[in-house]
C-alpha cells in the first residue's frame, strides 16, 4: 500500500483494495468480492443504524467493485442518504456514486433531485458545485426538467462565486446538449455573452464552451460575441508570456482559452465591422509570427500549446477562405511541419493541408509539397500518417499532376495495409476517371488497379468502368484489345465491336479458356459467342457445335443451360435480320454521377475522406483477446509505481517506497498462464444476412474474407484468412462446430498450419442444411503470433434464408397462400425503427439479397414490399411469405412473416428486423 495520502481516512477501503490486488486468480477475486458484498448487504440491512462514516465507506467499496467491472444492484438508497449529510466528504462520495451508477428508478431520481435542490439553494459554494457536477455528470432529461430553468439564474446572478459560475456554465451546456428544448436562454442571452468580458479567466474559459455551443444553434442571437471574442483574443495574443500568471502554460499565454476563442469565431463569417476585422487579422498574423519565433522552452508542452493555437488559427483562416495572404502563409508554415521530427505534427500538417488544398487561393501552394507528401506515403512508419498522406494526395490532385499521383497511389497499393485498401481503390478509380485526358491511360490504370487489388475493387467500380467504356466509342477498341491480350477478364458487351479479321482463330483462343472461367463469366462468354455468329457468319457452325454439346445444353447450372438452349435456337431459327436486331449494340448509358464518387461522398463532403467511414463496419468487427498478453515488448513496461511524469525518476528510497516493492507486481492482471479467453464475436454476422461476400472479420493481425454460394439445401463457403502482419502465424488451425448438430452439416478440410506474413490462405466449407435452424455454426481459430496464443471464435454467417429459392406468383396466389398460413404461430411480426437508409433501391437490394423473390403489384399500397420464397432443407420445403411496410415519416417499419413452419417465421423475423 502506498503512503496514505492527504485527508484520507478510509482504512477499510484500502485494506479491501489491497486484498483484491493480492488475489491470485479471477476466481479468488470474485470470491473476495462476493464476501464483501454479503458483508455490505448485511450492514445495510442490519437493525443498527449505520453512522455516516460507515455508510460512506461501504458505498465507496461498492463503487470500487462496480468500477472493477462487476454489477452492483444495491446501495443506491444509502448513497442517496449520503447526499443529505452535512459532512462534505460524505456528500461527495454520495454524489460520486450517483454520478457513476445512476439508476433510472423514478423514485430514486425524485430523492436525488430533492437533495440537489437543497444543495443548490444552500448558498454554500462547495455544496452548490457538488450539486452542479452531479447534474452535469448525469445529464438526464429528468434532471434537465428539474433544473434547466434554475441554472441560468445562478450563472448570471451578481453574487455568485466564480467557482460556482464556472460549474453552472458547463452544467448548463451539458443540459443544453441533452435537452435543448428545455434550456431557454431568451432573457439571459446578453448577460451570458458578456461573461466573455469577465475578470476571472476561469469563468471565461468555462463560459466560452457554453457560448460556442449556443452560437452554433442560434447564431443571430449570439452574434455580439464576435467583437467581444476578438478583443479578448487580441488581449491574450499581445500579452507577454508572464502576464497571465497561472493561466500561462509553459510560456504560452492561455492556450486553452485562445483555442476556444478561435473556435467560437469559426461559428461566424468574417466580421463585417472593418475595425473588428482589422484587429482579428492582426491577431492571426501575430499567431503565425509567434509560431516562427524560436521556442521559449524545449518542453514538448510548450510547442504543443503554441501549435495548438496555430492549427486553430489556420482552421479559422480556412473557414474564412477570403484572405489569400494568410492562406498562403498558413500553407508555408504547415509545409515546414511536413518534415518535422514530431510524428504528431506531421500528421496534423497533412490533415490541415487537405482542407487548404480545396481553397482556390492555396491550392497551388499546397501542390508545391507534392514530393514531400509522396515521400511520406512511402516512408512513414505509422499507417495513420500514411493514410493522411494519401488523403492529401487525393485532395491536391488536378489535371497537372494526376498521372504522377495516380501512379504513386497504385504503387503504394501493392503494399498498402488491408485496412485502407478499399478506400485507396475508390480514390484511384475516381482520380483516373476525373482527370483522364486519354482513355487508354484510364483503361490501363483501371486494369492495373484490378490486377493489384482485385479483391478490393467493389462492384461500384466495375459498373462504372463498364459504363464509361460503353459510352466512349474510342475507348472500346483499346479496352477490348488490352483485355483480350491478357484474357484476364471478359466483358461480353463490348466484345462485338472489336474483333476484326480471323474470327475463328479468336473464337478458338477465347473458347480454349472457357472451362477455366467461373459461371458468370461463362454466361457472358456464351453471349459473346452469339454475337460472333451475328458478326461473322463463318463461325456459326463451330459455335453451334459448342452450344450443342452436353456440357452446355445440359449444364447443371440453369443459367448456362438456358443461355445455351436459347442461343442455339436463336442462331438456327432466326433470320440474319432478326439476329442483327436482337444483337444490336446496347445504347449508351445516360451520363450520371459516378456511383463510386457517391460512395466516397456518402458520409463526408468531397475532398477529405477518412478511412473511418469506409471501414467502420470492418473495424467494429475487430476485437481479439482484449488487452492481455501483449507479446515481447511488455518487458519494457515500467512498474505501476513508476513516476508518471518521469521527471523524478530517482525516487526517494523511503520506507513507503520499499514497502511498495512487494506490491509492484500488478495482481490485477491475469494471474497464471490462463490462455486468453475467446468470446464469440458476432459483430460481422448480421452484415451477411442479405449478402454472401465480404470481410467477416478484421483486427490488427488477421483479416477473414468470405465468399459463399448456395443452391437448394447445399452451400459452399470459401474462407480467406489473410495474415496482415509481417510475421508468420504458427500452429494455425480452425474448427467449425454446429450448435445444432442435427440441423446443419458442415465439412471442412484442415488448413496449412503456417501462414506466412502477408500471405492469404483459403479454406472451403461444404454446408448441408438438414432441417431448419436458428444457431449459426461457430468458427474457432487458433494460432501463435510472436509466441502469444491467439484464440478467436466467430459466428459464421450461415442463416436459414441462405437456403431460399425465390418463388414468383400472382397477386391472387399470394393472397390465397397468405390466408392459408393463418394459424397465429405461423405469423411473426415486428415493428421497429429504421437503422439504415429507407431508400427504395437499397431496400430492394436487401430483399433480393435475402434470397426471396420480390413481387411487384401485389400489395395495394405501392410503398410496401412483398416477397415469397421456399426454404429448402434436406427433409422438407418451407414456404415463406413476407411483407415489409415502411413508414418514412416515422422512420419505422412493420415486418410480417408467414411461413409454413412457425420456428422459421420467428427466426426470419429476428434476423430481418436488424437489417433495415
Amino acid at each position: 500500500m502506498p503512503a496514505v495520502s492527504k485527508g484520507d481516512g478510509m482504512r477499510g477501503l484500502a485494506v479491501f483494495i489491497s486484498d483484491i490486488r493480492n488475489c491470485k486468480s479471477k476466481e479468488a477475486e470474485i470470491k473476495r468480492i462476493n464476501k464483501e458484498l454479503a458483508n455490505i448487504r448485511s450492514k445495510f440491512k442490519g437493525d443498527k443504524a449505520l453512522d455516516g462514516y460507515s455508510k460512506k465507506k461501504y458505498v465507496c467499496k461498492l463503487l470500487f467493485i462496480f468500477l472493477l467491472g462487476h454489477d452492483i444492484d444495491f446501495g443506491h438508497m444509502e448513497a442517496v442518504n449520503l447526499l443529505s449529510s452535512n459532512k462534505y466528504t460524505e456528500k461527495q462520495i454520495g454524489y460520486l456514486f450517483i454520478s457513476v451508477l445512476v439508476n433510472s428508478n423514478s423514485e430514486l431520481i425524485r430523492l436525488i433531485n430533492n437533495a440537489i435542490k437543497n444543495d443548490l439553494s444552500s448558498r454554500n459554494p462547495t455544496f452548490m458545485c457538488l450539486a452542479l457536477h452531479c447534474i452535469a455528470n448525469v445529464g438526464s432529461r429528468e434532471m434537465a426538467e428539474a433544473f434547466a430553468s434554475e441554472i441560468p439564474r445562478i450563472l448570471v446572478a451578481g453574487d455568485t462565486m466564480d467557482s460556482v459560475k464556472q460549474s453552472a456554465a458547463l452544467c448548463l451546456l451539458r443540459l443544453y446538449k441533452t435537452s435543448p428544448d428545455l434550456v431557454l436562454m431568451g432573457e439571459w442571452t446578453s448577460r451570458v455573452v458578456h461573461l466573455l468580458n469577465d475578470q476571472h479567466m476561469g469563468v471565461v474559459t468555462a463560459a466560452i464552451s457554453l457560448i460556442t455551443c449556443l452560437s452554433q444553434k442560434n447564431p443571430d442571437e449570439f452574434k455580439t460575441c464576435v467583437s467581444l471574442a476578438v478583443s479578448r483574443l487580441s488581449r491574450i495574443v499581445s500579452s507577454a508570456s508572464t502576464d497571465l500568471q497561472d493561466y500561462t502554460y509553459y510560456f504560452v499565454p492561455a492556450p486553452w482559452l485562445s483555442c476556444k476563442l478561435l473556435r467560437l469565431l469559426q461559428c461566424y463569417p468574417p466580421p463585417e465591422d472593418g475595425a473588428v476585422k482589422g484587429r482579428l487579422v492582426e491577431c492571426l498574423e501575430t499567431i503565425l509570427n509567434k509560431a516562427q519565433e524560436p521556442p521559449k522552452s524545449k518542453k514538448v508542452q510548450h510547442s504543443n500549446a503554441k501549435n495548438a493555437i496555430l492549427f486553430e488559427a489556420i482552421s479559422l483562416i480556412i473557414h474564412y477562405d477570403s484572405e489569400p495572404n494568410l492562406l498562403v502563409r498558413a500553407c508555408n508554415q504547415l509545409g515546414q511541419f511536413l518534415q518535422h521530427r514530431e510524428t504528431n505534427l506531421r500528421y496534423l500538417a497533412l490533415e490541415s493541408m487537405c482542407t487548404l488544398a480545396s481553397s482556390e487561393f492555396s491550392h497551388e501552394a499546397v501542390k508545391t509539397h507534392i514530393e514531400t507528401v509522396i515521400n511520406a506515403l512511402k516512408t512513414e512508419r505509422d499507417v495513420s500518417v500514411r493514410q493522411r498522406a494519401a488523403d492529401l494526395l487525393y485532395a491536391m490532385c488536378d489535371r497537372s499532376n494526376a498521372k504522377q499521383i495516380v501512379a504513386e497511389m497504385l504503387s503504394y497499393l501493392e503494399t498498402a495495409d488491408y485496412s485502407i485498401r478499399e478506400e485507396m481503390v475508390l480514390k484511384v478509380a475516381i482520380l483516373a476517371e476525373k482527370y483522364a485526358v486519354d482513355y487508354s491511360w484510364y483503361v490501363d490504370t483501371i486494369l492495373n488497379l484490378i490486377r493489384i487489388a482485385g479483391d478490393y475493387v467493389s462492384e461500384e467500380v466495375w459498373y462504372r468502368v463498364i459504363q464509361i467504356v460503353i459510352n466512349r466509342d474510342d475507348v472500346q477498341g483499346y479496352a477490348a484489345k488490352t483485355v483480350f491480350e491478357v484474357l484476364e477478364l471478359v466483358v461480353g458487351r463490348w466484345f462485338g465491336s472489336v474483333l476484326l479479321g480471323r474470327p475463328l482463330v479468336q473464337f478458338n483462343l477465347l473458347h480454349s479458356k472457357f472451362h477455366l472461367c467461373s459461371v458468370p463469366t461463362r454466361a457472358l462468354l456464351l453471349s459473346a459467342y452469339i454475337k460472333f455468329i451475328n458478326l461473322f457468319p463463318e463461325t456459326k457452325a463451330t459455335i453451334q457445335e459448342v452450344l450443342r454439346c452436353d456440357s452446355q445444353i445440359r449444364n447443371s447450372d440453369v443459367e448456362l443451360q438456358q443461355r445455351a438452349v436459347e442461343y442455339l435456337k436463336l442462331s438456327s431459327i432466326a433470320s440474319t435480320d432478326v439476329l442483327a436486331t436482337v444483337l444490336e449494340e446496347m445504347p449508351p448509358f445516360p451520363e450520371r454521377e459516378s456511383s463510386i464518387l457517391a460512395k466516397l461522398k456518402k458520409k463526408k463532403g468531397p475532398g477529405a475522406v477518412s478511412v473511418t467511414e469506409l471501414d467502420d463496419s470492418k473495424r467494429e468487427a475487430g476485437e481479439l483477446n482484449g488487452g492481455a498478453d501483449r507479446g515481447p515488448d511488455t518487458a519494457s513496461t515500467p512498474s505501476p509505481s513508476a513516476d508518471l511524469l518521469g521527471i523524478r525518476s530517482a525516487a526517494p528510497v523511503g520506507a513507503a517506497q520499499t514497502n511498495a516493492g512487494s506490491l509492484l507486481v500488478d495482481v490485477f492482471s491475469d494471474s497464471g498462464p490462463a490462455a486468453p479467453s475467446a468470446a464469440v464475436n458476432d459483430d460481422g454476422f448480421l452484415r451477411f444476412v442479405c449478402k454472401n461476400n465480404g470481410v467477416l472479420f478484421e483486427n490488427q493481425l488477421l483479416q477473414i474474407g468470405i465468399k459463399s454460394e448456395y443452391r437448394q439445401n447445399l452451400g459452399r463457403m470459401y474462407l480467406f484468412y489473410g495474415n496482415k502482419t509481417s510475421v508468420q502465424f504458427a500452429s494455425f488451425s480452425t474448427t467449425v462446430s454446429c450448435p445444432g448438430e442435427l440441423q446443419l452439416n458442415v465439412q471442412s478440410k484442415p488448413v496449412e498450419p503456417l501462414v506466412e506474413g502477408g500471405a492469404q490462405i483459403q479454406q472451403v466449407l461444404n454446408i448441408e442444411c438438414i432441417t431448419d435452424f436458428c444457431d449459426a455454426p461457430l468458427l474457432n481459430i487458433k494460432f501463435r503470433y510472436g509466441g502469444a496464443l491467439q484464440n478467436l471464435t466467430l459466428k459464421l454467417p450461415v442463416t436459414i434464408n441462405k437456403f431460399f429459392q425465390p418463388t414468383e406468383m400472382s397477386s391472387s396466389d399470394f393472397f390465397q397462400r397468405w390466408k392459408q398460413l393463418s394459424q397465429p404461430q405461423q405469423e411473426a411480426q415486428k415493428i421497429f425503427k429504421a437503422n439504415h437508409s429507407m431508400d427504395t433501391e437499397v431496400l430492394k437490394a436487401k430483399l433480393l439479397g435475402l434470397g426471396t423473390a420480390l413481387l411487384d403489384n401485389i400489395d395495394p399500397n405501392p410503398e410496401n414490399y412483398v416477397c415469397a420464397g421456399v426454404i429448402q432443407t434436406k427433409g422438407q420445403q418451407i414456404g415463406c411469405l413476407l411483407r415489409l411496410e415502411p413508414n418514412a415519416q416515422a422512420q419505422m417499419y412493420r415486418l410480417t412473416l408467414r411461413c409454413s413452419k412457425d420456428t422459421v417465421s420467428k427466426r426470419l423475423c429476428e434476423l430481418l428486423a436488424q437489417q433495415f
Binding site: 462514516y53 495548438a308 492481455a628 509505481s641 500488478d666
Partner: protein, 157 residues
C-alpha cells in the same frame, strides 16, 4: 470530449469518465476495443487516430495510458495538453503520482478530474484554482473526522 480512459500497459482500466450517456454494455465493448488498438501501437507512432466517428488522443505516462475521445472539430494538440495538465494535477496532489495512488485513491482521482473537466469541457486551466478546490475539501474532511481505532476501521469492533 466524449470520454476519458486511464488504463495500464496490461490492459487494466484504472479510471473511466463518460461525458455522454452510454449503456454499460457499449462502454465495455468500446473500452476493450480501444485498449486493444492503443496498446498495439508502437512508441514513435503519432498520438492521434481516427476511430468510429471520433478522434482518439492518447499519451502514455510510465505504466499508464491516458486516452481521450474527442469530436471531429476538436483540437488534438490542446487535448494532449489537457491530459498533461491532468497528470500534473494528480502529481501535485499525490506528490509524484504513480499508478498505485490512482488505484488506492480512485475516488480522489475522480474528484480531481471533476474539478478540472466538467461535461467534457475544461472548467479551469489554472493548476492553483483546481487544487485549491480539492484541498479545501480535504481540510473539511480532516475537520470532521475524529481518529478511529484500527479494529473499528476494519469493521471488527
Amino acid at each position: 470530449m466524449r470520454f476519458m480512459l486511464l488504463f495500464s500497459r496490461q490492459g487494466k482500466l484504472r479510471l473511466q469518465k463518460w461525458y455522454t450517456a452510454t449503456a454499460e454494455r457499449d462502454k465495455k465493448k468500446m473500452v476493450r476495443e480501444l485498449m486493444q488498438i492503443v496498446l498495439a501501437r508502437k512508441p514513435k507512432m503519432c498520438s492521434f487516430l481516427e476511430w468510429r466517428d471520433l478522434k482518439i488522443v492518447y499519451k502514455r505516462y510510465a505504466s499508464l495510458y491516458f486516452c481521450c475521445a474527442i469530436e471531429e472539430q476538436d483540437n488534438e494538440l490542446i487535448t494532449l495538453e489537457v491530459i498533461h495538465r491532468f497528470v500534473e494535477l494528480l502529481d501535485k496532489y499525490f506528490g509524484s503520482v504513480c499508478e498505485l495512488d490512482i488505484i488506492f485513491n480512485f475516488e480522489k482521482a475522480y474528484f480531481i478530474l471533476d474539478e478540472f473537466l466538467m461535461g467534457g469541457e475544461i472548467q479551469d486551466t489554472s493548476k492553483k484554482s483546481v487544487l485549491k478546490a480539492i484541498e479545501q475539501a480535504d481540510l473539511l474532511q480532516e475537520e470532521d473526522e475524529s481518529p478511529r481505532s484500527v479494529l473499528e476501521e476494519m469493521g471488527l469492533a
